[in-house]
Structures are given as C-alpha cells and as structure tokens.
Symmetry: C2
Subunit: 209 residues, 2 copies
C-alpha cells in the first residue's frame, strides 16, 4: 500500500456529517488530520480562492494530501482506509461495502442530510418556497432509506461482514443525527442498536455540533 | 484476487444507463454476463417476487454472483473490475476514481438520467405536475455537472490517470445520451472528444436503446 503523504488536511465545516465521516475514519485508524474550517452558511466554499485552490465544485469536505485534493466524502474515507481493516479483504464484501456507500449518497444523504440542513442549520422559518415544496418528497425518501437499513440490520451487527467498515461510517454520519431532520428512530430498533455499537468502538470520536 | 463465481447474472432494463455501465465494464474486461430483463415502466422491479428474491429496494441493476446479490451499479462495476486495469493501482488515483463515481451518483445521475427518463422514456406529455416542477432544478444541476466534467477533461484524455477507468465508464453511461434529456453537448468540446475515445476502446459495446 502506498504510504500517505504528511500532513493530511481536511477542509471542512464541523456541522457537516459528510466532513465528520472523514474525521471518524481517521480517528478509528489512529491517524492525525489537520483541519481548515469554512462556514457553508456564509458561502465560504464558493469564494474565488476556494474554487481555484481547493475545489472547482465549491463543496466540502475536501481532503488535501500533500498538494493533491480529493473531494467527495466517501472517496476520502476510502483513501484513508485503503488497506486497513475498515475495508473488507473479500472481493464480494468489498463491493457490498461500496454498495451501501453509493446507497448513502443516492438515497440517504440527499433526503436525511438535506432535511437536517434545512431544519437544524438554516431553520424552518428561513426556508424558501422551493425548499418547502420538496420537503414531503425528502421525508418519504428518507423514511424509505431508514426502512431499508432497519431491515438489513435485523439480525446483523454491521452492514457488511463481521465488523465496522466504511459502510457503517458513511451511514452513521447522518443517521445518528436523523432526529435533527425530523426523522424519528423510535421504531427502528436495529438501527438504534447499531448506533450504540458504533459509539462503543475503540477510538470512536463524536460529531462536533 | 478472489475468483468470480459463474454464472454472473445481470438483472436489468436495457433502457437504463446504470445497467449499461455494468455491461460495458464486463465487455471491456471480456467477461460474459447472463441477462434477465425487467421493464421499469411496468413496475416489474416492484413485484413481491423481485423484492423478496432480488432486491428489497426494488431497483435495478442488480448483479447476481452465484446466490449473492449486489445492487448499486457502481458497486457492481467495482466488483467485476477489482484487480483489473480498470481500477488504478495507485492509492490516490484509486480514490480519485471513486470520487468521480460518487460525483456521478450524487450530482450527475439524479439530474441527467432523471431528465432523460422523463423526456425520453416516459415522454413529456405524461409527466406529473410534481415532475414538471422539478425540471428547472434538474436542468441547472445537470448543466453544472457537465460544466465540471468539461473543465476537468480540458487537457486530459481520461478522468483519472492515463487510461480508461471505472470513472469514465460510470460517467459515460448517461453523458453520451444526455441529449435525450435535453442537454446539448455542442459547447462541451472536451467531453465530446472523450466520448469518441470511449467509443474507440477495444471491445467497446454500445448501449441498446
């Protein structure tokens, strides 16, 4: 496995669960990350300097490794964890881990993280009519994502294989704060047990909020 | 690398670019896939049998490997290509490949593939008011995704490194039919050159439509 350059710098906003995924991956692996902070509610990732020097897409998180930049939270987690026990050695299990990470970005984050951003970060009183018009769709999409997770975790401790992988880290980030987006986990017993197992991991680090 | 079980069965609808990604990956690798067909416009992936036996999420594509099932198109591509030249051996490049695959599922597919499905498969006259209300947002999101791709490909032949990787395959699927969703590629010279390079690859297979 190619060695990682030093230092590793996380360009992030601590309110973002996508940024937290990378911090949690590094923590579980015992890796140190430098941190640079941006406030997404103030447009600090859309400045000319950010677009030119960090990410032309104007988004965080971005993981900086030496003079190279890696956007997309789940890709950054994969980079840090490549060759570690957080990625299954078995070919099918490795692909199944990615399956849940793509599910997270396609069906979970756009619904649950967006609702949390609107209700918890921006505040319901500050939403646009367009955002309000999308809430019913986001709510049903988020509920469907949680239902699929609950069904999968019934009788399993982890999403793939016998221990925590990047699939668990990616899905934990916004699931454990889903209530901040108005998603109740009371009826999701398997998810709540899995959240407890995540929090009990050695070197676990909580999200800063 | 663990060997692949035989047969490999792709549960798919040929109209879907997500399904095509897996077929194209297999073709470029010279692998044979059995195929099972479903018509998504007729709800054939939401039947009780499909939900119980193939995918509880009611979606295609699903790659069946022996008696195991792998949803999520990009995860299925990774499974087939694991250990091949379609995945860079360099750690940073491998993560960069995943970066573009996550971008594809988060910013490209939900806009460009959805617009194509609405306009080309369902037909504009058959859309609901809710779908019509989302079109402006999907259009601007898709344009932004294409602009980022164009900028990245200016001066590069491939998304990552010196040859075709899964990042190119994932992004090719819906980009080369973007016009069917109303996205013109006339102003995207770098993207058009890259599409030509994709089509010129040995063992390239076209999408069936």
């Amino acid at each position: 496995m190619d060695a990682l350059p030093s230092p590793l710098i996380l360009h992030e906003d601590p309110v973002s669960g996508n940024c937290y995924k990378i911090r949690l991956t590094a923590a579980l692996l015992g890796m140190a990350l430098e941190r640079r902070f941006y406030d997404i509610t103030k447009g600090e990732t859309r400045t000319g300097q950010f677009l030119a020097e960090v990410d032309a897409n104007g988004r965080i998180p971005v993981l900086q490794a030496g003079n190279r930049f890696l956007p997309e939270s789940n890709a950054a987690c994969f980079y840090l964890a490549d060759g570690s026990e957080l990625i299954p050695a078995d070919r099918f299990k490795r692909a199944s881990m990615l399956r849940w990470m793509f599910f997270e970005q396609y069906q979970h984050e756009p619904n649950i993280a967006t609702m949390r951003y609107w209700l918890h970060v921006l505040g319901e009183a500050n939403l646009s009519d367009e955002q309000r018009g999308l809430m019913a769709m986001k709510r049903s999409g988020g509920e469907a994502a949680l239902a699929l997770m609950e069904r999968h975790l019934a009788g399993r401790d982890w999403f793939v294989g016998g221990g925590c992988s990047l699939a668990d880290i990616a899905l934990f980030a916004y699931t454990h704060v889903a209530h901040e987006g108005g998603f109740a986990l009371d009826g999701h017993r398997a998810i709540r047990g899995w959240i407890d197992r995540m929090r009990a991991l050695p070197r676990f680090e909580a999200m800063e909020r």
